[in-house]
Amino acid sequence: MNKRYWNEYQKAIADDHYFYERSCIRQTFFPGSETTFLKIMKEELQKDIRDEANQHTCTGIGYHSDIVPIETTLTIVARLYSLMTEAGYTHYVPSCVTSFGIFTEMTEMWLNNPDLLEQTRENLRKATGREFELPQNIAHPSDIIYKFREELKTKMKHQLVNRFTGKPLRVVEHIGCHYAKIFPEKGIGKAEFPHVLAGMIESWGGEVIDYPERRHCCGFGFRHYLLQENRGYSIANSKKKFESMEPYEPDFIVTNCPGCSMFMDKWQYVIAEMDNKTYDKEGYGIPVLTYEEMAGLLLGYDPWQLGLQLHQVQSEILMNKIGIKFNPDEKFRGANGKILPTPDKPHFLKQ
């Protein structure tokens, strides 16, 4: 029944020639994921994708925290589009779900309001002398991985299968609110039947857990996480999700949005340290991967170059289940193999 709904809602995703926009949050917490996405695009799929040096923030976090006026955000988005236009591209690929929401929303506003578009053009011209065109296609990087998931499968060295039991790994997926809640028709499967990550998981051998709070926010809350005294809001939302998924015993969580990846990882650490409580049975927590990390692991990329060691909940147990070989000595070394002091261990969360 669900499958029928999912099949009804498919979005257009460009085939090639993409303009990539980096995410402030993904660069900060998961730089290896962006590297991996570009590597998959260029080396596995032979696609043309532009990584522009001259790009910058979309202001999304500031906009949703009410410190950037909408006219400013519109014009900043226009500048980013001008870089795309200048480089000869028409397919825009923002690496962050917040940015994806911002680009989709600003573009829709312009399409519905030609005077506003003209005013933004004027503002951008005045500020920078630049011109811009609207993209013909806006796709989140996960949309592109989803589109080519079967082709990627043929190149994968591993599957989402527990090698000890032979059963599919059980995976919680989280698409992030701004991927499909703002404009449901812009997300694969819309907001109610999220399929962008579910499609990857199923194609690659895993089983998707459909738990009650699947669509609930991770709790970022913009100003709420950014203000120390409001972080209780953020952790309370994540906790609600963890409690809801716990009985289903997920092997791991995969997320679309870099913010959600970070929160669902770090709040597990905080809950473990505050309450000595984890949501797996053994006290290690549930690993949280980005979709790039999930794809990279299955393609046989080195987990320590993917950046798995940057998560506070570690992934060794998961990698063992999949049958991924890794060198533990490499984990906390520098880029040139330099031996570095290792991180402190948490008090309760096992590593």
Partner: protein, 201 residues
């Protein structure tokens, strides 16, 4: 009469955000902020659409408008196509413009301008590892502390171009680019808002 309400309607987002609320409460049922705060998006829509100036002014001065977490869940579910999340953005903007936001919100918005606001103008990123200081972010845990301490050695392992020139994650954004961002702020009212928030401690 009707000054504040008129101000709200002048925002480009307003007409799309509030069509006609039928007070069904579906937005409140789905709203995570309603679960954890004294906050009710249905009530907000109702107050605004009744156009009672005193009530709207009290709303602008309240804590309530600052509780929304901007998840946009309400947009997906509202059967009338309203967007309480966007009404909130318009209310917050107006509260800041009129100076009606309360002291707690003033202090909080000041801090957000000091952090994220300055990040954008100074380095071209909303968030950057140099500015997620472990002492202020105990929730980030020991691995974050380790990463920040060793970032120059470790970031290249992930293909990052930390403080480098040219493309790549965490590259230094060129001064010319930053100047274009600053000029955009100047022309579009971004600086005006930043100044206001930074001066309001």
């Amino acid at each position: 009469m009707g000054n504040i309400f008129n101000l709200l309607t002048q925002d480009i987002r307003f007409s799309e955000a509030l069509k006609a609320c039928m007070n069904c409460g579906i937005c409140t049922a789905i709203c995570p902020a309603a679960e954890f705060y004294d906050y009710d998006p249905r009530k907000i829509c109702d107050i605004v659409q009744r156009k009672n100036e005193e009530e709207i002014e009290a709303l602008l001065r309240s804590d309530m408008i600052w509780a929304c977490g901007q998840c946009l869940s309400c947009k997906t579910r509202c059967p009338r196509g309203n967007v309480p999340a966007e009404i909130i953005l318009v209310l917050r903007k107006t509260a800041q413009e009129l100076g009606y936001y309360n002291d707690v919100a003033k202090k909080q918005q000041h801090r957000l301008a000091e952090t994220v606001g300055k990040n954008i103008l100074e380095i071209g990123y909303c968030v950057h590892p140099d500015r997620v200081v472990p002492a202020l972010h105990p929730e980030q845990g020991p691995i974050w502390e380790w990463y920040v301490k060793n970032i120059e050695e470790v970031a290249p392992k992930f293909g990052a171009n930390y403080h480098g020139v040219g493309p790549g994650a965490l590259r230094t954004i060129r001064e010319e680019t930053l100047n274009e961002i600053r000029k955009i702020y100047e022309i579009t009212g971004g600086n005006q808002l930043m100044d206001k928030l930074l001066n309001n401690e």
